[in-house]
């Protein structure tokens, strides 16, 4: 492993630690330090340095057999994991409320929306950086599109199975046990969760398909 690749791994670990602190750190300061804000700054800093490093040495970080589509697939999987963790934390915060929310204004969403905004902006920047040198004209070819189609199918299957599971839950679990989940705002958020899950399965399938083809 080259020294640049080692630095890339160090930055990736810093990004993940920063993101985890940004998402899960307590609101109270620890020894006078706001861990959440510090984590977000570390995440942003490691991300920008990583993007700069990749722009200068694209082939030193990723193996040459990884196409741009595959590199983007890995980035997508990483950022979707962060989106999913942010969503899980949001649902946890809703569950902690004494009175279930009945209007959008009662949702504790401000902090989570700002986290989501940072994650999505970072994802867009990384996806653009992964495009590589502008002289490299072909980003997607028939092999990448075939992989994408198969991964799409996997995502559709996952969503179909999840919908069937929800139907079975609604049919067989007593209504009073599902009362919290069936409140309109909670149910709406759970539907968003299903879409995040579908996208996660799609990206995970994509990177697995590329890895399996190389074996």
């Amino acid at each position: 492993m080259s020294s640049i690749a080692r630095w890339a791994w160090v930055l990736l670990v810093l990004e993940l630690l920063g993101a985890m602190a940004g998402l899960f750190a307590p609101h109270e300061r620890v020894w006078g330090i706001d861990l959440g804000a510090t984590g977000t700054v570390v995440f942003g800093f490691a991300l920008w340095v990583g993007a700069w490093l990749f722009a200068r040495h694209p082939d030193a970080i990723f193996p040459p057999e990884w196409s741009i589509a595959e590199r983007r697939g890995w980035a997508g999987l990483l950022f979707l994991t962060l989106v999913f963790l942010n969503f899980a934390r949001f649902m946890g915060a809703i569950a902690d409320l004494d009175i279930p929310p009945v209007s959008m204004r009662e949702l504790p969403s401000r902090h989570f929306l700002s986290n989501l905004f940072v994650i999505l902006i970072a994802w867009a920047v990384v996806a653009d950086t992964l495009r590589g040198p502008k002289s490299e004209l072909v980003e997607l070819d028939e092999r990448d599109l075939r992989m994408q189609r198969l991964a799409d199918h996997a995502g559709d299957w996952a969503l179909t199975l999840a919908v069937i599971a929800v139907v079975l839950l609604l049919a067989f679990v007593p209504a009073q046990r599902l009362a919290w989940w069936l409140m309109p705002l909670i149910a709406a958020n759970m539907l968003i969760g299903l879409l995040i899950g579908r996208s996660f399965v799609e990206h995970a399938s994509l990177v697995m398909l590329y890895a399996r083809e190389r074996r």
Binding site: P64, E65, S67, D141, E142, E213, R214
Partner: protein, 72 residues
């Protein structure tokens, strides 16, 4: 039942052609270099259109570049 598979001689013909690089062949055929790597490693079977493009870029007939052979 006998199983058949597509094999290719892309690497041999590419190297015979003034050591054409994978990137150059990819550019001529409008695919990524990673697809050429996968093709040469026998990990990917191209579409008919890409097979024709590859044969043309290598200056060969299709059956000189690709074979449909019994699997060992």
């Amino acid at each position: 039942m006998t199983e058949f598979a597509v094999s290719n001689q892309i690497r041999q013909h590419r190297l015979a052609r003034a050591e054409m690089t994978q990137a150059e062949l990819a550019r001529l055929c409008g695919v990524t270099r990673q697809t050429i790597i996968a093709l040469e490693a026998g990990k990917y079977s191209p579409s008919l259109e890409l097979a024709f493009k590859l044969a043309r870029a290598l200056g060969r007939n299709l059956d000189e570049v690709f074979r449909y052979e019994e699997q060992k």
